[in-house]
Symmetry: C2
Subunit: 503 residues, 2 copies
Amino acid sequence: MKEGFVGIYVCGPTVYGDPHLGHAKSYISFDVVVRYFRYLGYRVRYVQNITDVGHLTDDADDGEDKMAKQSRIEQLEPMELAEKYTYRYFRDMDRLNVLRPDISPRATGHIPEQIAMIKTLLSKGHAYEIGGNVYFDVTSLPDYGKLSGRKLDEAESGSRVATSDEKRHPADFALWKKADSSHIMQWDSPWGNGFPGWHIECSAMATKYLGKTIDIHGGGLENQFPHHECEIAQCEGTYDEPFVRYWMHNNMVTLNGQKMGKSLGNAISLEQFFTGDHKLLNRPWSPEVIRFFLLQSHYRSTTDFSEEALTSAESGYRNLVEILDLLHLVAQNGTTSFNGNRKGDATAEGKKSKKNDVDEVNSYATGKQDSSGAPFDLQTLKDGLHECMNDDFNSAKAIGFLFEKLRPLKQPLQNGKIPSNIGELSDFVTQFCRDVLAIWSLGKTSDAQDEVPFNEVMQLLLELREQARKNRDWNTADQIRDRLKEIGVTVEDGAGSSTYKLS
Amino acid sequence: MKEGFVGIYVCGPTVYGDPHLGHAKSYISFDVVVRYFRYLGYRVRYVQNITDVGHLTDDADDGEDKMAKQSRIEQLEPMELAEKYTYRYFRDMDRLNVLRPDISPRATGHIPEQIAMIKTLLSKGHAYEIGGNVYFDVTSLPDYGKLSGRKLDEAESGSRVATSDEKRHPADFALWKKADSSHIMQWDSPWGNGFPGWHIECSAMATKYLGKTIDIHGGGLENQFPHHECEIAQCEGTYDEPFVRYWMHNNMVTLNGQKMGKSLGNAISLEQFFTGDHKLLNRPWSPEVIRFFLLQSHYRSTTDFSEEALTSAESGYRNLVEILDLLHLVAQNGTTSFNGNRKGDATAEGKKSKKNDVDEVNSYATGKQDSSGAPFDLQTLKDGLHECMNDDFNSAKAIGFLFEKLRPLKQPLQNGKIPSNIGELSDFVTQFCRDVLAIWSLGKTSDAQDEVPFNEVMQLLLELREQARKNRDWNTADQIRDRLKEIGVTVEDGAGSSTYKLS
């Protein structure tokens, strides 16, 4: 590990569809890892790839290229498809307050690097070519399977997939695949026209941008085998050096205990969460609540999704934000002369929230204030939060600890009892919640768009409509539905209750 | 030209610095071209590249790679630098309402395609290799110079740059450059390690995504020679077919008659315009005004920048938006029952503008309305605008014509004199100003975007309460007021109408 530097590679999305809650869990988890290292003073280079070729519909080197298939469905060039879904991926990650990676390399943008690696593997006897296809020879490495703990015998006997006649061993995997003339994405290579296998892109790009041995490699647990196992084989076969110091795998999001995933047909896209437009959702959910909800479970644990769980997360989120806002406002008012502005972050604020701050701060200012109170035990708070994060980046524990320590402050603060070190306390909490967990950003959440009680007002409207229907006042009931539709809110009547979604 | 399809390639930015006003002029100009074709019903594929290698500080194949140089200054990997400035480029273009290209290919992501093209040029005798460098032989094409009108003799005698000893003719240009081991970006090639010349990337990517002959190729006038001249030579040398049907070159932005450019030291970045943080600026300027300002001159003309010119553009912009808003609101009010809302675009609206709309529409609603007035001459408006745009996409003329035709409507509309075809008129004007010129989007320009149509929903609630009161249904009226209070919304009853505020 280079002193003071952390190199992180995380497997990015295959850009053939909208990102869903499972993606959010993965990329929010690693976002917090990156943020925490930066908070500790490390220089981090965060590389997260975009897969736009080679990812087949079947993990075992069979099936169709996911990009090519979806391109046909949407009648787009594969690169138009990649552009579209890369845009939507980052748009949704931005909304979730996920930092952009420092380098976001595309698989199709690194064909020469992949070919070079395959050539080395061939020359070192770790790969073999048959009729334009190149396969990795897993028996050429003594420790293939070390990450997932699978043994080659198991792989052989347990393989569900019909083994390609060409492969010497069923666990061998494709490095390069021959393309017939109809294949929409193909490149020239020493083995004829073809395209790279899915695993080689990550090996080529990770080592190009982070060196032969990288500090941290992350990804979803479903990638541990075969994808990450193959990455190790490729890199260690090429460079004869350990590929990764620390592997981190986030667990999945489940729905009634079942994995949520696009191919399983039960995935809810992030856009659908933000608009509420999905049959499993009764209302829209804000990106802030989604982020908070996901960080409330540890990245290695599964997150079981339900709207009840989201409701509970939303309530917890609001409670926490209330305390954070209060702390910040009192600190500003107590330590600086009032100026209706928040130090160092003026441009990030909405006008309306400033107006609200002014009102709130004024109301505190008129109350009795006592900032000569006992100091808050800041060291214990810091140590505790660091301990949570040092325990495998346990954001869930950190959030719990934050609540536990800050909740008792609310009443005294409201009564004007202010700890003597309120400034320091506020600065630290701001830094931790804004820069590390990124669940709060100095009033951004109390901004117009987030703070308006839209859902509550909508529930009242739906209730009034329900009353009108009971009273057989069809005019009013229709008026409400029709007017909402004009506004861009669609009401859907179910058995006994109605839901709405934003169009 | 494929029936109903337009392929457009525009030279994109070299991502080693922040985009400035010159970039805005170029990409807004071509944005309007793309939008106008789509408005006319064409399917457009818009390709705009990202240059992240090969663009040297000196046009004549000398000097340092701009990316490598800036990477050293910022102490970033070239790909980190590319990521950073690509992000900032699109961020600023998004603000300017510039549509994303359908494909945004990177030069470093198309090394194999560039090498393949160079191999073809070598095999056809259009290029020669000397010691790891490959040059295009301009004398091998009979019509080199046809775009810029330069003759090879002139190029030879007029060349200011010391000619490389390797070049057979001073106008020959590099297709591939040998890299010594210190060069930070390099790839393996049939001619040894090196990197592509600047011109070859556009030829390789344009033809890959748009075919051998493309409909429109755009870029800044400064790229006409040598860049586009070289592109033609490369493509026609490779494919023996005409490369481009229509060339479009936008002119530059000047400051006191001098070209504005990064290398000239007088460039103002777009970010600086939006924040006002530049010594030549007295205040921030909104993206809407910048866009309007630039579209007020034809793309082939120079735009001379000054704050006086921006002030005048801002005033014109406001006048136009005022008429457009008015037209739209009256149309909505005249054709549907009043609802304080704008059809079909609720989510894009700002709260303040919505509040203002309500006030405005209320004031109109109280006035006399006469929608049986003479019809507005819509055909003349349409024909005139189409004529302007068909005249080499003359947005400046189109804006002038729009003013001329719409201005006389203001007074009558304010007096409640409404043309009988107000709905059609409003629909057309909305489409033209929002989808083609993209200078107005139903109130979006008046304020920050809202995610939820809170104000509209509240207006509906207040209206329902008003109805209940008229019907002496005091229970419902009180229920609404009390429930809102619980939610945090205070209703205040005034003379004849109610307002609300958030507590």
